[in-house]
């Protein structure tokens, strides 16, 4: 028996035009949680696809239990005990939990091929109980929360008797409490003898769980360290290839008069009695658990959703925001959470993407003026330092961080006074993250009022002048920068559950 359950040597994978992996090494010990880190585009996803047999490497060797193997297809990898839980849960929402768990390896009677529903439900129940899940195997997958779906995916991995489990950013969409639950399950799996590869952008995940960490950068293997031997700074240098001096560069913006104020905004079933305000040059951090009603409040402010009662004041005048267009005409811009689905047209050039909200500026009486448009886009793209060659580069050709910059540039094209950012750095790597933080600070310095929704505590603490905390549709606390601590925020975001029972 070899010391390593899985060993990969000199793996190279070439796609047309790009080297996605360049002589990558990886060693996974038995009963260990091994963190895999790197910026977006470092090759982590391709690497996983090689391990799970989705892709065949051009060069390199894979050893499972000391034996050289090669997978022809994902099914073979599954048979050898390798299972992966992907970043975005890949489930069938209209099927039951049981069907999702046994998808691809249903239990059937040998001769008649009849599906053995009863046996499958029973085994699913056992698996779910083992994971301390609080839902039945017969419910529809679509009715579960993301965290619960994650548990189903883990149950699916267990049902194939996986020895090696790969988790690709499982905590990305989870709240603190749900992540805690996931940690517990992951540790339990490890104690039962599974080896786990854990991919995450969150440092806390790594410190909490992993004993070793491997870093990839630009498709290359950088190194493997014991988690308790490497410092945070060294790890960042390994990932980014340069030092990031300050994670949260706080520029002191001059805070001016009030621009936007909400008074007692309510919508039945979503949020109640929301009041807070934004001043010029101020960054207001809006936080709370996922489902606390943060996004809904913002959608009401930007006209994407209606509200029942309450008032919105813009520059001390009461306004009614009927749709996103009126919000934009007033000067309220919204950077949506999902940049690929809600922010960009991926098949379009970045220039056209930027001018979409402000076509009136590059047209006369409805007739497009494409020359003016291109110049306008060029100036905005240079302002936010997007890495691109031309305004005609397709949005889909940019990396995640650069796409996010394009969406920010899109906001800058309009004449705005308040900018609302919904999870601006979600799923963005460390390097681009600090670039986006700098842009946000820049916006505040230029006198924009900024509202930033974030679930990431360090981001909220590092960036905001004022923190608004929501819980179950209500504002539970508003704190100034000086008073705010992680503990206070958590307390306001989670405590007093009894009030609502």
């Amino acid at each position: 028996m070899s010391e390593y359950i899985l060993e990969l040597k000199g793996i190279t994978k070439i796609f047309p035009g790009v080297k996605a992996l360049d002589r990558v090494e990886f060693k996974l010990k038995r009963g260990q949680i091994h963190a895999l880190m790197g910026e977006n585009g470092a090759g982590k996803s391709t690497f996983i696809k090689v391990i799970t047999g989705v892709l065949t490497p051009n060069e390199g060797e894979i050893y499972l239990d000391g034996q050289k193997i090669s997978f022809k297809n994902p099914k073979e990898a599954q048979h050898m005990g390798i299972a992966a839980i992907y970043q975005h849960v890949t489930c069938y929402p209209d099927l039951t939990v049981t069907e999702n768990i046994f998808m691809g390896h249903e239990k059937v009677q040998k001769r008649t091929k009849r599906i053995l529903w009863k046996e499958m439900h029973e085994e699913a129940k056992v698996l779910l109980d083992e994971l301390c899940a609080n839902f039945e195997p017969k419910v529809l997958m679509g009715s579960l929360s993301v965290a619960q779906q994650q548990i189903v995916e883990i149950a699916k991995a267990l049902s194939t008797n996986a020895k090696i489990i790969i988790m690709d950013e499982p905590t990305a969409a989870l709240t603190k409490k749900e992540s805690e639950e996931l940690y517990r399950i992951t540790e339990k799996l490890r104690d039962q003898g599974a080896a786990i590869i854990f991919i995450s952008h969150r440092f806390e995940d790594m410190y909490r769980l992993a004993s070793e960490v491997t870093v990839f950068r630009d498709a290359k293997y950088i190194g493997t360290w014991l988690v308790n031997e490497i410092t945070n700074e060294n790890l960042i240098v390994a990932m980014v290839g340069r030092e990031i001096t300050q994670l949260y560069p706080k520029k002191e913006a001059i805070i001016g008069e009030e621009i936007l104020r909400l008074e007692g905004l309510s919508k039945t079933g979503y949020f109640k009695d929301i009041s807070f305000s934004v001043k010029k040059g101020e960054i207001v951090g809006l936080t709370g658990l996922v489902g606390a009603g943060r996004s809904e409040v913002i959608q009401a402010m930007t006209g994407l959703m209606s509200y029942d009662s309450g008032k919105i004041y813009f520059e001390n005048k009461e306004v009614e925001i009927k749709n996103p267009l009126t919000a934009m005409q007033l000067g309220i811009g919204y950077l949506p959470e999902d940049r690929q689905k809600q922010g960009l047209i991926l098949e379009w050039g970045i220039g056209r993407n930027i001018t979409l909200p402000t076509l009136d500026r590059c047209s006369t009486k409805g007739w497009m003026n494409e020359g003016v448009e291109a110049v306008m886009a060029k100036e905005l793209l240079e302002k936010v330092e997007v890495k691109a060659n031309s305004v005609f580069d397709l949005a889909s050709s940019l990396s995640g961080g650069n796409q996010q910059k394009v969406v920010v540039a899109k906001l800058l094209s309009a004449d705005l006074k308040v900018i609302i950012l919904d999870e601006p750095t979600k799923g963005v790597d460390v390097g681009s993250k600090s670039a986006i933080h700098e842009i946000i600070n820049d916006l505040a310095c230029k006198g924009y009022g900024v509202i930033m929704i974030s679930s990431e505590m360090p981001e909220i603490l590092g960036m905001s002048d004022k923190v608004v905390i929501m819980r179950e549709g209500k504002v539970t606390a508003i704190m100034d920068r000086e008073q705010t601590t992680q503990e206070l925020i958590l307390e306001s975001a989670m405590m007093n559950q009894a009030d609502f029972s």
């Binding site: 047309p16 035009g17 994407l304 749709n323 996103p324 267009l325 919000a327 934009m328 919204y334 949506p336 689905k341 809600q342 922010g343 960009l344 047209i345 991926l346 098949e347 379009w348 220039g351 056209r352 979409l356 909200p357 076509l359 009136d360 047209s363 409805g366 007739w367 497009m368 291109a374 110049v375 886009a377 060029k378 793209l381 240079e382 330092e385 997007v386 890495k387 691109a388 060659n389 031309s390 305004v391 005609f392 899109k410 309009a414």
Partner: protein, 331 residues
């Protein structure tokens, strides 16, 4: 960080200029004309060729707004029923003694209203797809036409009404002039205005449009209403060409119209396509039909050819993609 210079001018590339769907359509168009000229000596007669356009241009008028709808990522299969209903209303009103110009006005009005209903249904009930909504209205509009006229014909229009489809201005058929003018207007609207730009944006990613302050519902209603209006216009020319109308008029037109747009390179998935392609496709199908008609090829054989053409036209862009990846791997 060094300031990067981002190019604002499009670099002209001969390869991408000639690597366009429309060039392929031009080649097909020429081939069809060469073929037609070879099989029939009568084909290359300018007068006859111009006359031939009269037989398919009424239908072609509806391809113009259909391109808009397909670019939106929607579809409208109720257009033929809308033609029938507006045509029947016009004929019945005229036969009841309403002056012809007023009857024509009502024809346009009914068409516009039908399109407006489609648009409102689609935007108010977002869970319904365009296929389902227009399938329902397709049945309803045709049903109303049958109720109004039952299974009868109505006609006996004034002499001047025949001019619309049969008349000439100089040597050029009147309908051809109307078509050219409308084609230019629709082409400019789609490709040169903010309205057109927003339609393309909506076809690509309607969610992103909503977040960008594009009034998606308003635009959708406008496009469907415009299609209804054009169905009314088509009804006028079609009725003029036939001399009378029945409730089952224009049966199956919707598929012809959509087929022309698709052959023209307009994607049914939305967000892609050009007016010039659709216009070329109209003339390809029109002349193909005319040429084969000259040598008495049965209509059924014609349908097979049209079907094959359509499959090939949808296939070729895919082959192009495959060819490009092949080349990339080699280099």
């Amino acid at each position: 960080m060094a300031q990067r210079n981002i190019l604002a001018k499009k670099q002209f590339s001969i390869k991408s200029f000639f690597f366009q769907w429309e060039w392929l359509l031009v080649i097909v168009f020429i081939l069809i004309n060469v073929m037609n000229a070879n099989i029939s000596d009568y084909y290359l007669n300018p007068t006859l060729l111009l006359d031939a356009t009269m037989t398919f241009l009424d239908k072609a008028l509806l391809v113009l707004p259909m391109v808009f709808i397909l670019v939106l990522g929607d579809i409208d299969i109720s257009v033929a029923s809308t033609i029938a209903l507006s045509s029947v209303v016009m004929a019945v009103l005229y036969n009841l003694g309403v002056p012809m110009p007023v009857a024509i006005l009502f024809c346009l009005l009914v068409g516009t209203l039908c399109g407006y209903i489609n648009g409102i249904l689609l935007t108010k009930f977002k869970e319904l797809s365009a296929v389902i909504v227009t399938l329902s209205t397709m049945i309803i509009f045709r049903g109303i036409a049958y109720i109004i006229l039952e299974d009868q014909a109505a006609g006996k229009f004034p002499k001047w009404f025949n001019f619309l489809s049969w008349g000439y201005m100089g040597k050029i058929p009147f309908i051809l002039i109307v078509f050219v003018i409308l084609a230019i207007i629709f082409g400019l609207l789609l490709h040169k205005t903010t309205f057109g730009r927003r339609i393309f944006a909506m076809g690509n990613n309607i969610e992103a449009c909503r977040f960008s302050g594009v009034q998606v519902d308003k635009i959708k209603v406008i496009v469907f209403t415009l299609t209804g209006l054009m169905a009314g216009v088509t009804a006028i020319f079609l009725t003029s060409r036939m001399g009378s109308t029945r409730p089952n008029v224009a049966m199956g037109y919707e598929l012809d119209i959509i087929a022309m747009a698709v052959l023209g390179g307009v994607s049914t998935a939305g967000g892609k396509g050009r007016m010039i392609g659709a216009i070329l496709a109209i003339f390809i199908i029109g002349f193909l039909r005319y040429g084969l008609g000259l040598i008495n090829i049965p209509a059924q054989a014609l349908l097979i050819i049209l079907g094959l053409l359509l499959i090939v036209s949808v296939m070729i862009p895919n082959l192009k993609g495959r060819f490009q990846t092949l080349r990339k791997v080699k280099s």
